[in-house]
């Protein structure tokens, strides 16, 4: 399994692009099982698991899965822990609407940078230490919440806690060392979705903890500070579990990972160049900002919105807000599944249409949420909005692996950063100034989602076509080999550096949908009937 090792942001190494999101296991003839290995799950020649048994904790594969997604979940809990308690915090610290909005922006901005750095850290220290370092060094920032006594302090602490969202990268990286690439799609999608659930769970956990502490006798303004010890301690506990129970590789050792000599090290500048000069990269960066980005923004504002608009109690608003984030448990994997299904019949065109439909529907329901005047309608609109946005996230990562083979890691990293950037931007525009109320902000955000999803119509692959245009008729340009080969220059091709890309190109022919059988034969190959 050749990977581009060492390139920063290569957190998706091992992903070939052909993984079907709903594949739970890979049968033997396709990937041979190593029968000499003594693991609880069947493994391939690299000792990566070929089977994904969700409810098992078998060492090392499934144990890694659970340690990894729970760590990511914990970081989501602490990053959004303040959101359901804002009605109390805003009175304690005398916050204005712009303070609250700025804090929300700050909470998602830090991870733009930390996610980019995390890829390099995982390459250097391995994913186990990458994860443990981040989660344990961000624990003090969570405990710092108890010191905060002004708006500035509040914003600063939320910014620092937000760095911990880079555990997404260590999570995906760690999964790809443990699971075979044919099932990595489902594994990563599930880990990401379940981790994102933390944004929902926190809206339940924090008001509950706050309530308990208040009943135990603390005043409101002290109770919310004590409540932050819960996510803080979770950080420490998970960090210790990761260090004691986790391992970097199926066979155990970090050292071996770094001594792999048979992998060609690619030049970072080239990898970056091919990522940023591909216009599709930027379209997906924008799009992810309006699926994942709006999900994060909504995590930050929805509890306070329900509390104020419908005069609910704090924990009732928390329960409603929680259902938004918790929908991730099925919505995100569903998006990937829908994308794969559409690809089976319509190829890449199907994937693009599924993404556009899901994301646009999400935007429409967001508009409805802002305009809903009664509680039941608002809750319904919110749930439909959450399914649309989260499924769109899953569908986005159904397409990303096909944009580039050489620069896959960086493109994934950029897309992830785009998500956070989109979140910061929407919070800044719609939820920070007092120019419009939160309900108007939500509706306008819905309109912006619909507008910013339109660029997906511009995505065009010469070999597969786009949403409206058919594939190119040019015999040379309409092959997958040509598209993926064009990322390498002649010199590199002569050295054979592009072999992995060619292999990927062959596997990606499935993106032609039902037309695979009638694919034009590439030039210079023997015709069928001589």
């Amino acid at each position: 399994m050749g990977d581009i090792e060492g390139s920063p942001g290569s957190s998706m190494h091992g992903v070939t692009g052909k993984e079907q999101t709903f594949a739970f296991s890979v049968a033997s003839p396709i990937v041979p099982t190593d029968t000499t290995a003594k693991f609880a799950l069947p493994v391939d020649s690299e000792h990566k698991a070929k089977v994904f048994k969700i409810f098992s904790f078998a060492n090392p594969h499934m144990r890694t899965f659970h340690l990894s997604w729970i760590s990511f979940f914990t970081c989501f809990v602490s990053t959004f822990a303040a959101a359901p308690l804002v009605p109390i915090i805003r009175d304690n610290l005398n916050l204005t609407k712009s303070d609250i909005g700025n804090a929300g922006v700050a909470s998602v901005s830090g991870s733009i940078f930390s996610r980019l750095a995390m890829g390099a850290i995982c390459d250097m220290l391995g994913p186990r230490y990458g994860c443990a370092f981040l989660i344990m060094l961000s624990a003090p920032t969570v405990f710092c919440m108890s010191f905060v006594s002004s708006a500035g302090g509040y914003i600063a602490v939320r910014f620092m806690i937000g760095f911990s969202l880079a555990t997404f990268v260590s999570c995906q990286y760690w999964m790809s060392t443990m699971f075979n690439s044919k099932i990595i799609g489902l594994v990563n999608g599930t880990a990401a979705g379940w981790g994102n659930m933390g944004g929902g769970a926190t809206q339940l956990i924090m008001p509950l903890v706050y309530d308990l502490i208040q009943r135990a006798g603390a005043t409101p303004f002290t109770a919310w500070r004590i409540a932050f010890f819960v996510p803080g301690c979770l950080h420490v506990i998970m960090g210790i579990l990761v260090l004691t129970l986790g391992q970097d590789l199926p066979d155990g050792n970090l050292g071996a990972l770094q001594k792999k000599g048979d992998v060609a090290k690619d030049k970072f500048s080239k990898v970056l160049w091919y990522a940023i000069t591909n216009y599709r990269t930027w379209i997906f960066v924008l799009l992810y900002g309006y699926s994942m980005g709006v999900e994060l923004s909504t995590d930050n504002v929805v509890a306070e919105y329900f509390y104020d608009r419908f005069n609910l109690k704090l924990h009732t608003a928390g329960i409603i807000a929680a259902t938004f984030g918790m929908a991730n448990i099925v919505a995100r994997p569903f998006g990937g599944f829908a994308s794969d299904r559409a690809a089976r019949y319509f190829g890449m065109r199907g994937r693009l249409w599924v993404l556009w439909i899901l994301q646009t529907l999400g935007g429409a329901f967001c508009i409805w949420l802002g305009r809903a005047n009664s509680l039941p309608i608002a809750v319904l609109a919110m749930i439909l909005f959450s399914v649309g946005a989260q499924a769109a996230c899953g569908a986005t990562f159904g397409i990303i692996p096909f944009i580039s083979r050489r620069s896959l890691g960086i493109i994934s990293g950029l897309t992830g950063a785009g998500g956070n950037f989109g979140s910061g931007l929407t919070q800044l525009i719609f939820f920070t100034s007092s120019r419009f109320s939160t309900e108007t902000g939500l509706s306008l955000m819905g309109v912006m989602i619909i507008c910013c999803t339109l660029p997906v119509t511009l995505v065009y692959f010469p070999q597969w076509g786009g949403m409206f245009l058919p594939p190119s008729r040019d015999v040379v340009k309409s092959t997958e080999e040509f598209y993926y080969g064009s990322e390498w220059n002649e010199e590199e091709k002569q050295k054979g550096l592009h072999q992995q890309s060619l292999k990927f190109a062959e596997n990606s022919r499935s993106e032609r949908g039902k037309r695979v059988a009638s694919a034009p034969t590439p030039p210079n190959s023997t015709p069928n009937h001589v």
Binding site: M136, L137, P220, F229, S434
Partner: protein
């Protein structure tokens, strides 16, 4: 006697008189200036002057500490109105209301004319049945610990002018921070960092030892 501190504002508080029979929506603008309320701060007793709408005001400044200070509210019918005009009142509710300066940029404290949606007055000082004819009833309220730091006022219509700039007072809230909490915070954080460093050094040492063998 100490010289009175400069620029003081003496608070007075709105009465919302709710009749037992519900009127449906009650508008702020329709509440009549029939009752006059003057609160006094017991710790500044020496400097206290009672305020009546048609009398000259001399202003005193009071900064009240939540959890520690208290406000004494006294009320009685405005003597200039004909007797018997208060016979329809059943309950008297005295509320603490946010001044405009504490409402800017905070939509959750917005003033709406429709009383049922109004969020200006979020703290009830006292609510009791109204007995007419008995002037100068009073109530002493200790500012509670969950009252946020803000500037509070007088009220809409009753005893301040339309711009709500007179008769404002400030409450200094508790921060909610405690030394014990701060110490616990530092200890937990230190534990986290030290545990991480400890594990890392330990594993490095073990790796060096096995490599050296």
């Amino acid at each position: 006697m100490a010289a009175p501190p400069p620029a003081l504002l003496l608070p007075s508080i709105l009465l919302s008189c709710l009749c037992a029979s519900s009127y449906g929506f009650i508008l702020f603008s329709s509440l009549q200036k029939t009752l006059v309320v003057a609160p006094s701060n017991s710790t500044l007793l020496n400097n206290l002057i009672r305020f009546l709408l048609d009398e000259i005001v001399s202003l005193l400044f009071a900064v009240l500490k939540a959890g520690a200070d208290d406000i004494t509210v006294t009320w009685g019918v405005n003597q200039t109105l004909p007797a018997g005009s208060d016979s329809a009142y059943k309950t008297i509710k005295v509320k603490l209301c946010y001044a405009p300066v504490s409402q800017t940029d905070r939509a959750w404290r917005k003033t709406e004319d429709n009383l049922s949606k109004d969020k200006t007055c979020q703290f009830t000082i006292v609510s009791r049945p109204y007995t007419s004819g008995n002037n100068n009833q009073s109530f002493t309220w200790t500012v509670e610990r969950d009252v946020p730091a803000a500037t509070y006022f007088v009220a809409y219509g009753q005893s301040t002018d339309a711009h709500k700039t007179t008769n404002l007072f400030e409450i200094q809230a508790i921060t909610g921070r405690h030394v014990s909490l701060d110490i616990a915070s530092v200890c937990f954080s230190a534990f986290s960092v030290l545990a991480l460093v400890g594990f890392f050094m330990n594993e490095k040492r073990k790796a060096r030892r096995t490599q050296g063998k």
